[in-house]
Point group: C2
Amino acid sequence: MEDGTSPEPSSCAVTEDDPFQWDAREDCEVRQILDRIADKWSLLVIALLERRTMRFTELKREIDGVSQRMLTVTLRQLERDGLVHRKVHATVPPRVDYSLTDMGCTLHDTIKPLVTWTEAHQQQIIAARASYDRAAAPPA
Amino acid sequence: MEDGTSPEPSSCAVTEDDPFQWDAREDCEVRQILDRIADKWSLLVIALLERRTMRFTELKREIDGVSQRMLTVTLRQLERDGLVHRKVHATVPPRVDYSLTDMGCTLHDTIKPLVTWTEAHQQQIIAARASYDRAAAPPA
DNA sequence: CGGTATCCTGCACGATACTG
DNA sequence: CAGTATCGTGCAGGATACCG
């Protein structure tokens, strides 16, 4: 395939004084943490809990397609990372409330722009994909 | 386990007028796109390309642990999504330059705070994990 | 209700070999 | 140099059953 089909490159600044350069080591803590919070369900859980405290079953009902196992695993990881608070009520039947911790809220603040960006650019991305696929299409 | 070991919940605002509420449907476009850009390598590639145009081999050398296959796959996806530009030079040996598109740059702008957040909170997260693990420790 | 424990499967990904 | 093609497999994650 030629390159003529790609969108133009940008000329975004190569800011030399940009302190943003991350550690590319495989065992880098930052990468591990990012992998964790950027996984399939964590973002969704954080987004939902930012709105209000929710029970386990509520979360399960809200999140289309999540298995009980994955929801449990996700919540446990977020709790372990100090992002989500788990409150067990000693009632019967049991009741467990999940909510964001303060740190979880600050994380949400940084995630939100990412989701907003995605929403704002989804049409552009869909168009880019169609264009790419057309260019690579089977020359029948 | 009791709940006494969890960090306190936050009281972050339940802003009712908050328009941020995302589509939890499994086939939601936003979720698919997020899954794509939040994967193990994409973030790293975007971060590196924001600094400067890079060749395939350079990227491979910079990113510890990535296989040739995964780098290729990642770059193709990002190209297809219109986030990365691929420029093939008709020289021999071949030379392929990768750079961010304008859209890729805007994405980087929203990713950067997330990385910054992670760097800023990694100690807190490590501490939270240690605390959690201690609480759940084998009661020998 | 809100989980664990167990089993089983698919496919994501690495390794390797080949090519324009 | 910058890929494709093919094969093998580890483990993420679904399904199911059971429990406090």
